[in-house]
């Protein structure tokens, strides 16, 4: 929020730029466009479909580029600057490409009391990411620390993409990683 980016967001700068050269292909065509139309029917304003539309972009493209923000802005009668202001407010929209596996580890106090820091260390070590927010050289992993995931009794919860894994301990990390396709 205030400064609510994942630490190390800037480390993706290079990879982000690589995408600017190819011509932009719109996200909302065909079935995806229909999906948005259905969503618009749930709300009395177009603006209310903004978060759902951004989720669709991220599902289709893996991240939310400036061009995609412009596309969403046009579809919902908003300005690109407005859309960017919303995107940057929330922590879950990626403004840069991330690794194939985006790993989020909760380190808020309750999990911290149960060894979350060691889990983070284990992920950084075994993924080859080295530091928080950086993507591993093979492009497979990005690891970040996040605030309470709402599963504090199952310390330490970890999210890998859409997968929510409970009760992760440092020693379980290597096996978890080898199970990923």
């Amino acid at each position: 929020m205030g400064g609510g980016h994942a630490p190390g967001d800037t480390s993706h700068g290079d990879r982000g730029h690589a995408h600017h050269d190819a011509p932009y292909e719109p996200v909302f065509v065909g079935a995806v466009k229909d999906e948005l139309t259905e969503i618009l029917g749930r709300y009395p304003t177009k603006m209310a479909a903004l978060l759902p539309a951004l989720w669709i972009v991220q599902r289709e493209r893996g991240w939310v580029s400036d061009s995609a923000m412009a596309e969403v802005a046009q579809l919902l009668d908003l300005t690109p600057a407005y859309v960017k202001g919303v995107v940057t407010f929330y922590t879950m929209y990626h403004q840069h490409p991330v690794g194939k596996y985006f790993v989020q580890v909760c380190t808020t106090s309750p999990c911290g009391a149960c060894g979350a820091e060691k889990v983070v260390e284990a992920f950084l070590k075994h993924t080859g990411c080295g530091e928080l927010g950086a993507t591993s050289p093979d492009g497979r992993y990005t690891v970040i620390e996040v605030e309470c995931l709402g599963a504090c009794g199952f310390a330490t919860p970890v999210m890998i993409n859409e997968e929510f894994i409970e009760s992760v301990t440092a020693d379980k990390v290597p096996e978890l990683l080898t199970q990923l396709p």
């Binding site: 929020m1 922590t91 879950m92 929209y93 808020t108 009391a113 149960c114 504090c152």
Partner: protein, 437 residues
């Protein structure tokens, strides 16, 4: 049933009865377990009668503030010619709290049923369930359940065949603790940044899309079908003698405790018995040191205070804290309180929406000072500065996130001052949590 442990005989499982029972998830399974009878009954009653029944039950909001639910509903005026909305607050992001998650994962139709009854009672045709984006499994389960409920005609343009329209939509959040604050949630739903609004106007006058709106927590709404099925008197009877705190409450328990998980007990249950019997006490060889009983935003209790507490709204206040969201965080004697209080301050600094100066500056500044003390670089004067800042952060901002950051700092310094002083005089963490750099 229980989850992840089996129910303790001293629990009173009402909401948690089917936790861990995958058969309860489907519409058919839910109906076999008595589901949707309350909705059918409700749609045959007048909205005013439902509101009165809920008022009579004594049910209070389970999202943190404990406002009487029936009274909140009575602020809505059905038939005023305006669209009304019901928002379900499923943003559950308060550190220590993970009960709404279990309600949605195991009994999605309990929430849909409670929400549909609530919507009808306040004259709303549309209900939005705002679920935090990180809750991927609850989102999947809720989306599937809503789809099923539409297909069966339980909700939709002709809910339960009564000709009444009740639409229910799941809305996915995108990562922001502040969106659990009711007006921030409404802004977020409208496609805006999740900044809390200045009140008044209150949501019942101008809420979502500027229209009269009620917002309720998941657990609050999940209790409503039981109240309609079994009556207000039955619900009120589940309390240990305090008529202001009635019914059962789900407490999420985490941290350094033998059996973390959710426990459902009658209001007024003794906290000591709860911690040592139900939750299994401390881990082997350890002793409890500090308890935050209502999610990270309430004052920290010493073990002595916790052991003297009865678990209801008034009982927690009598022992210097609040029931809050019912997220019980336990720290044992292996933990450094300075480190945890610093980490909690960092949480609030990260989550501040930054529109109020006292909050934006206060959360960041207190975090810096606390982390400095933790590293062994603090001074005694820092403790006074922290208390002064905390005072500036309390009661002066648009929402209470700022106050929530101050609560553990003030109570922490008051009750664990010797740990702060040991960091300052010894120039390092005495527990070795952080060596002096």
């Amino acid at each position: 049933m229980g989850y992840p442990h089996t129910s303790h005989p001293k629990e009173t499982p009402v909401l948690s009865q089917y936790f861990g029972d995958p058969g309860a998830r489907s519409l058919d399974g839910w109906k076999q377990r008595g589901g949707y009878r309350a909705l059918e009954k409700a749609l045959g009653m007048s909205p005013a009668d439902i509101v009165n029944e809920v008022k009579e039950s004594g049910l209070r909001g389970r999202g943190g503030a404990g406002f009487p639910t029936g009274v909140k509903w009575s602020f809505m005026k059905p038939g005023d010619g305006k669209p009304h909305y019901l928002c379900v607050n499923a943003d559950e992001s308060e550190p220590g709290t993970f009960k709404d998650r279990e309600i949605m994962r195991w009994t999605p139709h309990a929430l849909i049923e409670g929400a549909a009854i609530g919507a009808y009672a306040i004259g709303a045709e549309t209900c939005y369930i705002y679920i935090r984006g990180e809750f991927t499994e609850p989102l999947r389960v809720m989306n599937a359940a809503v789809k099923e409920a539409y297909a069966a005609g339980v909700i939709g343009p002709n809910a339960m065949g009564t000709g009444k329209r009740i639409d229910v939509h799941v809305h996915k959040g995108a990562g922001a603790y502040i969106c659990g604050e009711e007006t921030a949630l409404m802004n977020s739903l409208e496609g805006k940044r999740g900044n809390p609004r200045i009140k008044p106007p209150f949501p019942a006058v101008a809420g979502l899309f500027g229209k009269p709106t009620t917002i309720n927590n998941v657990e609050t709404l999940a209790a409503v079908p039981h109240i309609l099925n079994r009556g207000a008197a039955w619900y009120k009877g589940m309390s240990r003698g305090n008529p202001k705190s009635t019914g059962t409450k789900l407490f999420s328990v985490c941290g350094n405790v033998a059996k973390p998980g959710n426990y459902e007990v009658e209001m007024g249950f003794p906290f000591k018995e709860f911690l040592y019997e139900l939750c299994g006490g401390p881990l082997p060889g350890r002793r409890f040191k500090a308890i935050i009983p209502g999610g990270s935003s309430v004052p920290i209790q010493t073990v002595e205070e916790a052991e003297a507490t009865v678990m209801d709204y008034e009982g927690f206040i009598a022992q210097g804290t609040m029931l809050g969201s019912g997220g019980v965080i336990v720290f044992d004697d292996s933990q450094c309180m300075v480190k945890h209080i610093a980490r909690l301050a960092r949480f609030y600094a990260h989550e501040s929406c930054a529109q109020c100066t006292q909050c934006r500056e206060g959360t960041a500044w207190t975090t810096r000072i606390l982390e400095r003390i933790e590293r062994g670089h603090g001074t005694m004067a820092d403790l006074d500065t922290l208390l002064e800042l905390a005072d500036q952060m309390t009661g002066k901002t648009i929402c209470v996130l700022s106050d929530s950051c101050a609560a553990p700092i003030v109570s922490g310094i008051k009750k664990f001052r010797s740990e702060f002083e040991a960091h300052i005089t010894g120039k390092r963490c005495p527990m070795g949590a952080t060596a002096a750099a």
